[in-house]
Structure formats: C-alpha cells, structure tokens
Amino acid sequence: MTYTQVGKPLLRTDAYEKVTGKATYVADIKLPKMLYAKILRAEYAHAKILAIDTSEAEKMPGVRKVVTGQGCEILFGACIKDQPPLAVDKVRHAGEGVAAVIAESEKQAEEATKKIKVDYEPLPFVIDPLEAFKDDSPIIHEQNHEYCRVPGYPPKEGTNIFHHYRQIKGNAEKGFAESDLVVEEEFYYPLLSHVQMEPHGCIACWDSEDSCRIWASTQAPFIVREIVGHMFHIPFANIKVYAPYLGGGFGGKSDVSIEPMVAYIARFVPNHPVRLVLTRKEAFTSSLLGRGMRGKIKVGAKNDGKLVALKAELFYSDGAYGDTGCNVVTASGFVATGPYEYEHCEVDCYGIYTNTPPVGAYRGYGHPEAHLMSERMINILARKLNIPQAELMRKNFLSDGKVNAVGQVIRKGNGDLYQCLDEVEKALFAEPLPSEDADYYYGRGIAGFMKTPMMLPNASSGAIIKMCEDGSFNVSISGIEMGQGCQTTMTQIAAEALKVPVEKIRISKDVDTQFSPYEWQTVGSITTLRVGNAIIQAAERAIQKMKESVAQISHRPVEDLKYEGELIRSKSNKNFEFETKLLALSYLSPEGHGVGEPIETTGHYYIPGVNFPLPEVGGGNCCGSWTFGCEGAEIKISKKSGEVTVNHLAIAIDLGRAINPMGARAQMVGGMMMGYGAALMEEVLFNEKGIMKNPNYNQYKLPRLSNVPEKLTVKLVETPDETGPFGARCIAEHPAISIPPAIMNAIVDATGIDLFEIPIKPKELLAKLGGGQDGDN
C-alpha cells in the first residue's frame, strides 16, 4: 500500500507557537481574581505532626487563607487510596506538603509560610527498599492493609509492602535442575528525577460547592477529573480539567501529582483561581520520582545456549505513597525475562513504602529496571557459556510462535528482533574497534529490549472529527502534546485517513475534559496506536456519512460511490462527481432543502481482549501490544580517571510503520540520551537525615550537548502490526530502556569488569581497574 501522508517527515505542527513564545503552559496563565499558593514542606523524612500554629502566618500581608491537613479525612488514589492532599497526622517524606498559604502574590505567600510553626516528633525512617522490606523496618503506613483499593494490589499487613505481583510460568526450580549452568546476581537501579523542563503547575477554582475548573500540567486530565471527583464526592461532569501545552512529562505528570492538593486548598477560597507552580527544588522533592529498584535474579541455561529458567525478585522503593508506583511494579514483572523465551519463570515484584517522595511512572515504566538485569545477565551467561552474546540472543529471541513469560504467543506482527539486532551490529561493528592504548580501554556492548504499554483493559482513546464548510477538518483528541510530537503524527494519520492534504487538518491543541473526547491518559507510548486508531474510525464514519448524503442527493446506491477526499465519484459513471465540502453542515439543495446530516463523527479505540493479570500466577493476555528492539554502545574508558566516554549509541526499533520518520528519530535520540543520563550521571541521593541531597540542576547532573556521542545511529525497522494505524506501534519510551545495560556490557568488553549498579562512577570503576583486571576476560 502506498501512502500520501504517512511516512513523510512532516515538520512539527506545534513548532511555530513554540518558537515564537506563543505556546501557553500552565505557569503562563493569568486569570481574574487569581490567588497564589506556596507550600510549607516537611523537613523530616518521617515524623509525627504534634501541632501546627498558623496564627502568625494568617496576619501576614496579602494572606487570604492558610490551609493545613488537620482534620482532613480525604485519601486519594486510583488503585490504592493512601494519600492525603496535605500531611495529616504525620509526614512520610521530606518535602511533603504540611500547610499551604494562599495570598495575593506568590511572594506574600512565600513570606507567610516562613511564619508557620510546626512541632514534629521525628520517627525512624527508611529509604532503601530492602531495608523497608524487612520485618523490623520502621512502618510508614500503619493502616496499610485498611486502605480502600481495587483488587489485584495485595498489601501485607504490618509491613511496608503495599503490593506484590507474582508471575509464574512452568516450574522454575525444575528448570534450574535441568540447566547446565545457573548464574545469580544482584542489581541496583537508583531513584531518578524526570526533571521535565517545565516544573509542575496547577490552577484550581471552585465555582460552586460541587463544580470546579482545573488547569494542570498533566498527561492525564481525565485521571485528575476522576480523582478530584472521588475526593469531594461531586459529579465528574461538573469538573473541567484543562490541559494546555506540557513542558515535558516522561510519566512524571501522569496519574496525579500536585493537582489533588491544589484542588483541596482552593476549596477554602471559592470563586478564586488558586495557582501553584513548583520551584525546581520542589519538582525534585515534592512531585514524583522514578525507578528505585533492588533486584535479585537467577537464570539457568543449557550448554548450547538455550535459556531454561529465570527467577527474579524486584524490590521497589516506591516512596511515601503507593498509588502511582503499583502498576510500575506489575509492569516490570511482565518483562523480567527481557525479549527472550524461557520455559520456566518465577517473578516476584514488590511495591514497598519508603520515606522518599512518591515514585511513579518514568519513561519505560518498570522496563528499564527489568532490562538492566536481563540484558546484563545475557552478557554474563554468554561469556560463561563461551557463546557470542549476539548468538545467545538470537537463539532465544521472542519471535513468531514463541511464548513470552506471561503466556502470550508472539505474532510475526509484533516485530522482528533478528532484524533489529542485525542493524545494530551492522552499525556498531562497521569500523574496527580501536585497540587499547596508553590512555584508554575501548569496548562495545549490545542489549535487547521489549516493551508493552501497561493499562486498564478498557483504557480507551477517542477522536471527534468535524468537517468545516471549506472542506477542512477539526480533529479533537485528548492525547497530550508533551513534546513527543503527537499533534504532528495525528495530523498525518487524519490526513491519510480522510485523503486530504495535511493543511486541511487541524488537530485540537489542548484538552478540556468537558469538550474533548475521552482519553484514559497519555502514557505508555500509546498515542500513535490508540488515538491513531480512534481517528481512523472517526474518519471512516465521516466518509460513510458523506457517501450516504451523496447517495440521497444523487439517487445512487452507496456502493456505487467512491470517496477521494475532496470529491466523491461514481464507480459506474465517470462523469459524476460531487464536492464533499458541500456536505459539511448538511447539504443545501438547489430547491432550498437540507439533505443528510452534518459531517461530525466520533471514533474510539481500546486494545481488545486485554485482561488484568490472572490471579495467583499473574500473566495471561495482560499485555496489549509489544514493541521489540536492540540498542548498542561503543565507549572508551580513561585509564587515568575511570571516566566513560560514549562514542556511539545505536538503536534499531521495529516500529511497525514510521508515521513520521523525523519525529521517530527525535524520540529515539532523546530517549537514548535519557538512558545515557541514567547510566552515567543521574541519581537522587539522600543524606543521613533522609533529606534529598541534590534537588537542583547543579548537583543532579543532566546530559548536555557535550555528552552527546560523536555518532548516533537510529534504524527504523518496519514490520507492520496488523492492529496499529497503518501498521504503527508504540515507540516513545523505548530508547531509554536498554542504554544502561548496553553501556555496562561495553565496559565488560573493554575491561572485563562486571558492573551491577548505575550510575557508573568513574572513581569506583578506576578502583576496580586498579585491581589488576586487564583486557580480555
């Protein structure tokens, strides 16, 4: 099939607004009667609140209201209701909101927060998930087992474990007994901050007791609506959540973060919009973090390289509240194997309360943590078996007819790992690797990945198409444009489906829950697949409607009519053509009658047949879509400093169909550099009091231009997915997944040193190098 719009490098449709400063983000919005909030933050990781005195703060200039959590009985959460909008009887992480000041200016609010006095009784705290897992750990939620929760998130009473996902395939112990080689290792993926350039912001205004408007920096306006509706027991229809442009999300603005708190405090000053925009420090300490996993893994293989059994335990530091982390925990369990077939699997993933900011979705959603282990283990196994790693990978890749860990049979249309690995090898090994010299060790590493979007079985996307009387189309969607380029790809999909030039398509640029179509949330790299399919369905319905109108007008059967975009033609009579734009508002006949209906249609899509994971054994048809790929890295390591320089990063991803190859490359490169940051630079650290040590750009180092490798390879492999729009599948999170293990495998290649933790620290690497390790292993 040939396409006219799909596959073209259309320039971003949001670029003009963004390059002229016209694009509006939450912090740019000013509203009549608006007031400003600042939050007093806990300075203890874990402490009882004995008393709060707000009397001095209330007397400060400009102050309209001081709100605390005292007496608040609201707990919110989509799966586990365990979080109050402001701390009530105790604080569970440093940076948690204790009181809010609402004032006429941000500065007045800030000054007043300094006058609030809080008496705390510090409690023992715990940061590390393995410590928090122990029976004698400080307990962060005494009422863990009493919280209202949906089924499938079993807590363990009297512990910090709020969720345990167990997934079984075959019999792991039997598998290990049958294996010729069994290897066991432990890994650590630290807590990271998303560090979206736009700090979180939210404005809430209560127009009456039971209706409010919320402007939020969110990937999930409909989840915000749901949570706020539950919090205040008001009709969801009365809540208007408005999502303007988003300055980066990466999962850290999915579910909810600050919105429940802002909605709560704004209720005390009805008819005033209350705005809170986080400082950069607060974005670190008081929104969401990502990752934070300690893992144990054991794999068994035959001497010929056939993988047999895998047992893994993943312990997640999920922070003070569990709702945003619980499904990340489950998702990592789906992919603990990496993209390989094992006959026997036993995987236990634990969501554990710790005294850090709550942990949630972060680009990759449990997959980077799982792949850190699986892709390092493949490397270790290969060396022990004396089989090249790529050969071991090929021998065990999931492919047509193979059965993954959750029990799904892989289809050809899920993608082609073999081709991806070929492409990465071709790019990575194009030139000979420099030989070790006086200054550097050199090495190359590869790693595979697979990714599935984690979601509710009925998580859906909608689209509304309205034809205008000039033949152009308004297409409303609720996929959030957060930088990933969904407005542009959706423009192409709509133009392709409606057979019109892209200039005739206008995708809605922001979302309003009262007018925009329903969208579960913009997560899991799902927009292309789910919103794309919704647009195609709406377009098909619009085309059908146009044909029906023309049939009525021309007295021809619908089957005789052929839609060609601007014209509808007759298949039997070459001379008949009809301008479709005349149908937009319903056709006005020469006799002065209206004929047919206006061309306004809806479409929706959810992935059919997806279930919640099965009880007891986990798994089942719980993964709605798969994307496969491989990544590679070439590095050099300074013998003097231990510093790792990355010379080449490569990815080959089977994306089914590149709707916009330029946009796809942009996602791949951005994601690989995020993986680079995780591998070599980033880590949220806490001091001896449990307070974050590096909540700023100066200490939490991020990749900058100088970190970008000399060479970046992006190969887009296209094995069409029969369920995707024009064959496309999910791709945006994926490049961040396997760069850390690829770099670590390159370090093994260069030095023979096996690493199990990130970020890779030059001093530690140097110490290991000084230990007599040299060249080949």
Partner: protein, 158 residues
Amino acid sequence: MATTNISITVNGRQHDLLVDEKETLLEVLRDRFDLTGTKNACSYGACGACTVVADNEAVKSCLLKPEKYNGKNILTIEGLADGNNLHPIQDAFIKAGAIQCGFCTPGFVMSLYALFTNNLDASDDEIKAVLEKHICRCTGYEFIWDAAKLAQKMLKER
C-alpha cells in the same frame, strides 16, 4: 520592600517603571509585560531557559536584578520575528526538528541570536560553548545542533 525606578526598552518599546529592588528581569518580563515566552525552569541560572538578549548579549533573566537591567535594551523571543516573518534562527529550529516540548526553545534561540549577532562566523566550538549552557530534556540535542548550524548558514546567505 525597597523599590527603585528603572527605564527599560523591551522589544523596541521604552518603559519607565517602579520595581522592587529584588525583582528579576524574568519577573518583570513575565509578570508585568506578560511576555511569557521567556520561561522559568530553575530561577538560579543553571538551565538557560530564561535567556533573553540585553544590549546584544545573552543574559539569564532569572538572575538579573534592577541595577543590572536598568537602561538596557531587551529582546525577548516575542520580539524576534519581523511581523509574520520568522527570524532565520526560528525558522532553522522548525526545519531541523529541534523543538519538542518547547520549554527550553526560547532560551536556546535567544542565546544563538546573541552569538550570531556578535559573530556570524562563530566556530563550531564557540557554538557548542553557547549551547552547553542550556538544558534540553527531550531532544538529546542532535537536532538542536543541526538547527544552530542551519541557522548560521541561513543567516550568512541572507
């Protein structure tokens, strides 16, 4: 709070105003003039998102106090295009695909404007040194680098 009188030209229009002595240029631009194209991402000069041009020099507007911006001629992202005609740097950012979430974009563009205004023959190393002061979390910088090079070429050919 102590206040001070200042005179400032913003995107070609001169203003006299009374500001707080701690009021930053970023606050003046965003809160008083609604020039919200200039972004606040850290407020301590580490990320470059708030960069504007003051007397042809790129400055981090979040750090500048009145004594530093009084009397200056300020150009922000909103003042860069000539009516509907985008400045070549803006055009280059669009064509090279250098924009994703867009929050860092105005800062990058304004820094390059100052660089190329002062030295259109800037070497690759000089361009890199300017871009290094900015953080972008989305793009991985590849297309931003391409945009900078394309902008330089377009400006030379103008």
